[in-house]
């Protein structure tokens, strides 16, 4: 049988989704189900003097209106900074527009929304802290006065780069803003909670049913056995559905109180203010280098806008610090960070979570060095690359890069783009005022995939960094795989089946993958950090191999041979040397459940594997973006986008391509379109998709994508994961291209998103001799 790993198999999950047969949380209709809706703060920062719920509660078909005082059993949202917990319903203070202050329960969501409109909250406004500048100013208004500062967490730089910077022949600074983005999954967040006498059942649009169960168990003091969490079809998460939201406990507590199932689903405008945002970093960077473009020292200070509460955002700048040096060998790297509170939507993980911010930073540095020295950006990259024999490579903070060959991806990229031809065209276009300017931007990036091991994940408040799979061979010869990861668009049902098919020598259609239900699946960790294939895939392989081993023993018994002498090929077991005298999987599976024919063997084939990775993996790649820039309007058009990814072994080229395209689309979105903005008073200005500009397919270029494969030693598949690579690769490829288009005018820096007006202003400023 030809290998299924590496085959471009079409997705098993698509027929259901494409014919509208998927089940999302909002599709659930339970008997007696009620709907809840939050009254959300209209103020960025205020004391709550009182909440008037009478008019709302009096509406027909409203079952209750509750404030924090009415629900003393509500636990707060966990935090990594003790003392700065976020209450699930605001008590006496609100800290961002959109923070829930009360909750309405009604027969349907229309009535619930009518009731929400009738709740009046008496606010005593406090000074807003809409941005980092305000938050860090002398005498700034404090979000948590008792904390004494808006700095929620801080890691001072370990060491001093000054000597190395001073010793470098040249040095330069950059101040980079990695703007706030909204993950904006197609399906907003939602839960249904049904707390019956025996069990609390929660359906949630989340990235890990097991994580949700663990949290609920802890927060509500209910044993695991009393909670079942189901993640049905989930329409995108991008990291934000790994964050913890008040709906989980509010819906549960209300369900217990009212004895009815409770549904809570966000509208799009709610999603844009309530779901965690991503990125939101300012980076102060200083680099020392020589005339040949060799980088000698790098100092990075990351300031993370955490939003109103210190949640997942506290960990993000640490990941940025770890990855600051990118794929380069830099003798001195010193990094520090702090996470700062502002009266804005809390910030959390968003596709790449801290690593895209690092890749942006170092790749902008590389191009700055190229601009300053006149050495071609490709050459600067080559001169600084970690060589292929440098792995495993330990970075300045002790993190280990597993494997890589950065030159290989770049070489392939250069073959694909015809670099010299592009440079010639660029020069010709510069000379011809009737044509748009042209720019060529590169991004040679490295990130983290296969997120684990446990030591790292425990630090982030997770149960661990391992993953699990259980393989059950059914009596008809089909296999049911239960996996601890929880897909939300990635196509795991297909990819995991491919891995299992190879391990079991079974056709793909005999393998069913189940996930996202704590009652059906053994304990698992979940899907984030590009870990599902690299960690979960290995668990799948191991569980499959164990099932195969047991099946082999059954077959050996039936064939009256020693298990060591039994082989499995093309779905048939046979004694080595006599392939014609074999038995098929179906028979072996069936007999495995008939003790009368099994001799001393224990009946059944069902085995689990828990896999703890020894290493995080480091997917990498080389991407190139070619842009046209309208000289008069500043409009940027992507003319080509070419990417070579190295995620080690590619399990399915089709789904891999989908992952890269989606990620690159989000990266292009960040570079050119998207930014969450707040007004001076802390009011969100981008709370609908008319203002928050998520681009569509119409804005995307044709993608030219390929892979090179440098396997990881971290798992037996050699697969590194690639869910976040595209989003990590693309922003700087685009920005570098636009700056390259304008560099002859003296433009050295532009902040994302590169709106036509921003680019136009940079051109104007350069033309007037000013600095852009």
């Amino acid at each position: 049988m030809t290998s299924m790993v590496g085959a471009a198999v079409i997705r098993k999950e698509d027929p259901n989704l494409l014919t509208g047969r998927g089940t999302y949380v909002d599709n659930l209709r339970l008997p007696g189900m009620l709907h809840m809706a939050f009254v959300r703060s209209a103020e960025a920062h205020a004391r709550i003097r009182g909440i008037e719920v009478g008019a709302a509660a009096a509406l027909p078909r409203v079952h209750g209106v509750f404030t924090a005082r009415d629900l003393p059993e509500l636990p707060p949202i966990p935090t990594v900074v003790p003392g700065l917990e976020r209450p699930s319903l605001a008590r006496d203070r609100v800290r961002f527009v959109g923070e829930p202050v009360a909750v309405v329960v009604a027969e349907d969501r229309y009535v619930a929304a009518d009731a929400v409109a009738r709740v009046t909250v008496d606010y005593e406004p406090l000074p807003p802290v809409p941005d980092l500048e305000t938050a860090l100013a002398e005498g700034a208004p404090l979000l948590f006065p008792e904390h004494g500062s808006n700095v929620y967490a801080e890691i001072p730089p370990a060491g001093d780069a000054e000597a190395a910077l001073a010793a470098a022949p040249r040095r330069a600074r950059l101040r980079l803003v990695n703007q706030r983005c909204a993950p904006a999954p197609m399906e907003p967040f939602g839960v249904v909670a049904d707390w019956g006498p025996k069990t609390l059942t929660v359906w949630a649009s989340c990235q890990s049913a097991h994580f949700v169960r663990g949290q609920l168990s802890k927060l509500l003091a209910v044993p695991y056995g009393g909670i079942r969490v189901i993640a049905p079809d989930v329409g995108g998460g991008f990291g934000a559905k790994q964050s913890w939201y008040p709906e989980y406990v509010v819906a549960a507590v209300l369900s217990r109180r009212l004895g009815r199932p409770i549904k809570a689903t966000e509208t799009r405008s709610e999603n844009l203010v309530a779901m965690t945002h991503g990125r939101a970093q300012v980076q102060e960077v200083e680099v020392g280098f020589d005339d040949s473009g060799r980088i000698l020292a790098l100092r990075v200070m990351v300031t993370q806008d955490a939003g109103a509460y210190p949640g997942d955002a506290v960990g993000l700048p640490m990941l940025t610090m770890i990855m600051s040096a990118g794929c380069y060998r830099i003798p001195t790297v010193v990094t520090g960070c702090r996470a700062v509170g502002t009266t804005t939507t809390p910030v959390g993980a968003y596709r790449g979570a801290g690593r895209p911010e690092a890749a942006y930073l170092i790749e902008r540095v590389i191009d700055l060095v190229s601009d300053e020295t006149g050495v071609d950006p490709i050459e600067v990259r080559r001169r600084n690359f970690l060589p292929a024999d440098a792995f495993p490579h330990t970075t300045h903070l002790g993190f280990v890069y597993d494997s890589g060959d950065y030159g290989k991806a770049l070489r392939r990229l250069l073959e694909m783009i015809d670099y010299e031809g592009l440079r010639r065209e660029q020069a010709a276009r510069r000379e011809d005022p009737t044509r748009p300017l042209m720019g060529i931007g590169f991004s040679t990036f490295v990130e983290m995939g296969g997120v684990g091991p446990s030591a790292m994940m425990e630090g982030l408040g997770m149960l661990g960094g391992w993953e699990s799979a259980r393989a059950r061979v059914n009596p008809d010869g089909t296999v049911t795989l239960a996996v601890g990861t929880s897909p939300h668009g990635q196509g795991h049902e297909t990819a995991f089946a491919q891995i299992a098919a190879d391990a079991l020598s079974l056709p793909l259609d005999r393998i069913e993958v189940v996930h996202g239900d704590t009652e059906v699946v053994q304990e698992g960790i979940g899907t984030f950090g590009s870990r599902s294939i690299a960690v979960g895939g290995e668990a799948v392989r191991r569980a499959s191999l164990r099932a195969r081993e047991k099946a082999t023993r059954v077959a050996a018994h039936l064939l009256e041979a020693a298990p060591e002498d039994v082989e499995l090929e093309d779905g048939r077991f046979f004694v080595r040397g006599s392939p014609d005298r074999g038995i098929g999987w179906e028979e072996v599976a069936n007999k495995a459940y008939r003790p009368t024919q099994l001799g001393d063997l224990e009946p059944g084939i069902e085995v689990a594997a828990f896999y703890e990775p020894g290493l995080t993996t480091c997917p990498s790649g080389a991407h190139c973006c070619v842009v046209g820039v309208d000289r008069e309007t500043g409009r940027v058009t992507i003319e080509r986008y070419v990417g070579v990814d190295d995620c080690g072994t590619v399990i399915n080229p089709l789904t891999a391509r989908g992952q890269v395209m989606g990620g690159v689309a989000q990266g292009i979105a960040q570079a050119l379109y998207e930014e969450v903005s707040y007004g001076e008073s802390g009011q969100p200005l981008t709370s609908t998709l008319a203002e928050y500009l998520v681009p569509s397919a119409a804005e995307m270029p044709r993608f030219e994508l390929e892979h090179v494969e440098t396997p990881t030693p971290a798992n037996s598949l050699g697969a590194k994961g690639l869910g976040e690579s595209g989003a990590t690769a693309a922003p700087q490829a685009v920005v570098n291209a636009v700056i390259d288009a304008l560099s002859h005018l003296g433009v050295r820096e532009l902040q994302m998103p590169l709106t036509p007006e921003r680019v136009w202003r940079a051109i104007q400023a350069a033309a007037n001799g000013g600095v852009a």
Partner: protein
Amino acid sequence: MIPAPFEYARPRTVEEAVSLLVHHGEGAKLLAGGHSLLPLMKLRVAAPSLLVDIGRLVDLRYVRDAGDHVAVGALVRHHDLETSPLLEREAPLLRYAAGFVGDPQVRHRGTIGGSLAHADPAADLPGVVVALEATMVVYGPRGERLIPARDFFRSTFESALAPDEVLVEVRVPKVGGRRWAFQKFNRRSIDWAIVGVAAVEADGGASVALVNMGPIPLRALETEAALRRGASQAEAAALADRGTEPSSDLNASAEYRRHLARVLVRRALEQVRR
């Protein structure tokens, strides 16, 4: 979509629609394609107490040759405009511009009547009918009246329609032989114009309308006058933002809008008069 509560009526004739509007008063709103009204209702920015759904008045869905003009029924969808051979012949600017409204889904639902009545300063078709000097046919309790396009738009989201009147037809002068141009500058293909320009060749120059350079679609009067004086396209275009009052928002500052108006008008003029 979670609007405030409302009543719903589906009249079978325009007369019935008008009588519903008259009887219900202020709170009644016509519903055509719903692609401007429903988004406002779902944000509860609009909360009409009665929706008078004229969406199925097929009698108002026609594109007819009416001698010196093309008669376009108010319920003609953007997609109908975009694919009309008659318009392609007689008023290709309108046909072409309709293809830039939103996305295919919007174009299959949204109507020309709704688009004009809504009077969004960022909408495409109001600028087009102003450049083409079309005439609106309006029906109400006092019968029918004609309103030239230049008098139809009053302010942001405000037209010359009385609350109990229905826009029934748009009369578009035949301009088949003349050169024309449509320039729309936006960030995503689905978006409204940051600035737009609709221009048609006219005696001694061009009729040039600007989208989103003020509360209503404006004619670039100084540009038009300069062309009549014989100024070059570049000279005339440099005057395009005179007399406009563009706003500043997340997409663009007023200053940038003025710049865009000058650039886009020049590009339009280059297409109109080569």
